[in-house]
Amino acid sequence: MSARQHQTEAQPSMLHPELCASDDPDAIVRDGRRLDHAEGASKPLRPKPEKQPRGALIRGNRPVNQAEAAARFIAAPEHEKMHDERLWDLRQKRDREMHGIPEWEELRSLASAIKEHTLAHLDTYLEEFEVHATATGVHVHWARDAAEHNRIVHGILRDHGARSLIKSKSMLTEECGFRHYMASVGIDVIETDLGERIQQLDNEDPSHVVVPAVHKLRTDVAQVFARTLDTDPDNSDVHYLAERQREANRPLILAADAGMTGANFAVAETGTFAVCTNEGNADLSANVPKLHIASIGIEKVIPRLEHLAVFIRLLSRSALGSPITQYTSHFRGPRAGGEMHVVLVDNGRSERLGMAEFWTSLKCIRCGACMNTCPVYRRSGGLSYGATYSGPIGLIIDPTFNARKYSNLPFASTLNGSCSNVCPVKINIHEQIYAWRRVLVERHEVPLAKKAAMKAAGALLSRPAAYRAAIAAADTALAHLPRFVVYNGLNAWGKHREVPHPPKQTFHSWYQANRGARS
C-alpha cells in the first residue's frame, strides 16, 4: 500500500473534507506516515489563500442586509464552494441515515407531538423539572431574559470566587451575549468546543448551530491561530493546528474555576438533563471543575425519560448524518463535593409561545438540518444573517427578538420547503417564513419602494385593460432596449442573467388571432 493510499484510508469519513487535506500535494510523508509537526509540514511558497469573507455589517437597529453579505460570500468562490459542498455532504449523510430507519416519518411525528404537548403544558413540566432537580441537590434558578441570566451566572461565580469558566457550546449563551458580559466583569471564558473556540479566538459569532466554524477554510484557521496561539501562519495542516490548540487549551481547562454547559434535553420526571457532543468537551466542562452551571432554555424540557429516546434517535442523524453523537451525557445531580446549578431561561420564549402562527418554532432541537439543506444558507454563509440564529430556523426565530433589525431575513428564502421536510420535529418552517412576510408588511417593516411597487402591481393586475396595455408596452420595450440599459447596475435580473427573449406576440394576442372567432 502506498503512503498516499494509507493516508486516505486512515481518514475517518466524518472528518471535514477540508480538514482532511487528502489532496495536499505538498505533504511530506516518511515511512508511510505523514509528518505533521511544523517542520514536516512546511511547504514551498504557494499562492496566497483566499481571504475569508466576513459576515453582515451590523449598524445598530437598522435592518441587516443579508443579501449584501451573501454576495460577498459568493464572491469568495473557494469559501462558497467548500461551504456548499460540506453542508450538502451532511444532508446526504442525513438521507442515508434516514433510509436506515423504516419508521423515520413516524419518529418525526412522535417527536413533534411530544414537543407540542410539552409546550402546551410548559408551566407544569417546568415546575416538575424544578422539583425533581432540586431533590437531587441541584440549585435551580429562573431567568426572565438574557440580562438576568448573565447576572445570575455572574452571581454564582462571584460567590465561589471564580475567575475563569470553561464552557461547552450553547446557542442560548450566544443569545444572551454571555461572553461579552463576562469579559466586562473580568471573568475569563474559554470555549471547549474546537469550532466554537476558533470562533471565540477570531472574535466572530458561530455561523452554524452545530458546526460553528464551518464557513472557514483551514487557511483561515491558520491565520487565527497564528494571531492568537502563535502558530506558523503558513502552516494550515489540520493535525498541526488541532494539536497546537489542544496544547494551548488543556491547561486552561485543568485550571478553570467553574464549568458551564447547555442542555439538549431536560427531563421533567427525573429532573435530569442530557448534553450531546462529539468532542466530549461538555464532560470536561462539567466534570473538571467542582462547580457546574447549566444554562437551559425553557423549551428544552420533555416530560419523561422514555421520550428522550425519540429525540436522541433523531438528533444526530438529522444534524450530521451519524447515528448518535459520540457523547450523550446524562447529568443527574452534583458530584460528591461539587455543586450544580441550572438556570432556566425564558428570553422571549413565553412571548413566542403566545404567537399563534409562530409558537411551534419552539419545537426546534437545534440540529441544523434546515441549514444544511437550505440552498440559500449554503451559498450565503451563516454570518450573512447577522443574527444568533441563521438559516431557515433563524428566519422565523430572529424576528421574534427584533422585528426591525431582522426584517429582511424572512425574504432571504425561495420558500422551497426543503427545510420543513428535513425538520425532525416537523416545524412548518417555510410556511412560517411566508407568514412572517405578511406580519412584517402589516407592521410596516418593509421598504417604502417595495410597498409602492406592490401596490402598483396589485392595481395593474386587477384591471385587465390597463394590464393588456402595459404588457404590450413592456414587450416592445424589451425587444428594442439596448443591452447596456437592460444590464445596468440597477437591473437586478440582468446583473448575472440574460433576460428572456421576447416573443413576437403574447399568448393573448395569438389566441385572439387563432381562436378569436370561438368566444
Binding site: P375, S418, K450, M454, L461
Partner: protein
C-alpha cells in the same frame, strides 16, 4: 369537460408557445377549452412578498374569470399552488372555494384526473433532465421529495415515460431549488443567480440536452443563467413535449 385555461402572466408575455401547447394538448384529448380573455394573474407575486391585501382585487378578478368551469388548468405549478393552497385575501365564499378546489396544474390534471395513458403523437429523442419546481414537488406533491422517507413516485416522469425516444439523466442534486423564488430572484439576485448557475451546470454535467419542467418561471431564470455563463443546454416546458414538440 369544459376547461378554463389559465395562462399565467409571464407565460402569456414570454412563453406563448407553452400556452399554445397546453391548449392544443387539452384539445387533442377531447376537451372543450376556453381562455377567459380578462385574466391577468393569480396574485402570487404580491402574496409571496407579504402584501396580501394587495392581492384581493386580483384574486377577485381571477374568481370572476374562472367561475363556472368544470376544471381550471394551468401549465404552472407555482401559480396553481398559490391558488389552491394560499389565495386567502378574499372572503372564502362558496364561489371562491369552488374555483380554488377546481384549479389543477397540467401534469396532475393529465395524471390524476384524466389519467392519460398514451401520447401517440409525441416523440422526443433527446436526453432530458427533469426539473421539479419546488411548488410542484413540495407544494403540489408531483413527486416524492428526497428529504422524506416514502416510496418513490413522480407524476411528470410517469407522463414523460410515455413519450417515444425520450431518455432521462439524473443530476447530482435533483431536488435542489434553482433559485428563482419569484421576487427572491431580484431581491436576492446574487444568491438566486448562483443557485441558477449551479442548477444548470449540474444538469449539464449529467449530460442533459434539455431541462424540462412544469414551471416556465424556473426555466426562464435557468435559461438566463445558462446563457450568461455559456452552458449549452436547452429548455422546454413539459406541455410542449407532451404535445409532440420534436425539439
Amino acid at each position: 369537460m369544459h376547461i378554463g385555461l389559465f395562462i399565467p402572466c409571464y407565460i402569456d408575455a414570454f412563453f406563448p408557445d407553452v400556452g399554445i401547447a397546453t391548449l392544443e394538448l387539452l384539445e387533442r384529448l377531447g376537451h372543450d377549452v376556453e381562455y377567459p380573455r380578462d385574466q391577468t394573474c393569480c396574485g402570487q407575486p404580491m402574496a409571496n412578498s407579504g402584501f396580501n391585501a394587495e392581492c384581493a382585487d386580483t384574486e377577485a378578478l381571477f374568481v370572476r374569470n374562472f367561475s363556472g368551469f368544470d376544471c381550471i388548468v394551468a401549465p404552472s405549478g407555482s401559480c396553481v399552488h398559490h391558488v389552491r393552497d394560499k389565495f386567502d385575501a378574499l372572503e372564502q365564499t362558496p364561489a371562491v372555494t369552488a374555483v380554488r378546489a377546481r384549479t389543477y396544474e397540467l401534469v396532475e390534471f393529465l395524471h390524476d384526473i384524466v389519467k392519460v395513458d398514451a401520447f401517440p403523437w409525441a416523440r422526443f429523442p433527446h436526453r432530458v433532465g427533469l426539473h421539479n419546481s419546488c411548488g410542484t414537488l413540495r407544494g403540489l406533491k408531483h413527486a416524492a421529495p428526497s428529504e422524506l422517507h416514502e416510496p418513490f413516485f413522480s407524476k411528470p416522469m410517469d407522463l414523460l415515460s410515455k413519450v417515444a425516444g425520450i431518455e432521462f439523466v439524473t443530476p447530482a442534486r435533483p431536488d435542489e431549488c434553482c433559485g428563482f423564488g419569484g421576487t427572491f430572484s431580484v431581491f436576492e439576485e446574487g444568491v438566486s443567480a448562483k443557485m441558477g448557475r449551479d442548477k444548470v451546470s449540474d444538469h449539464a454535467r449529467a449530460g442533459a440536452e434539455y431541462i424540462v419542467s412544469a414551471d416556465s418561471s424556473c426555466l426562464m431564470h435557468q435559461q438566463g443563467c445558462a446563457e450568461r455563463i455559456g452552458v449549452p443546454i436547452k429548455f422546454i416546458h413539459i406541455a410542449q413535449i407532451l404535445n409532440g414538440a420534436s425539439a
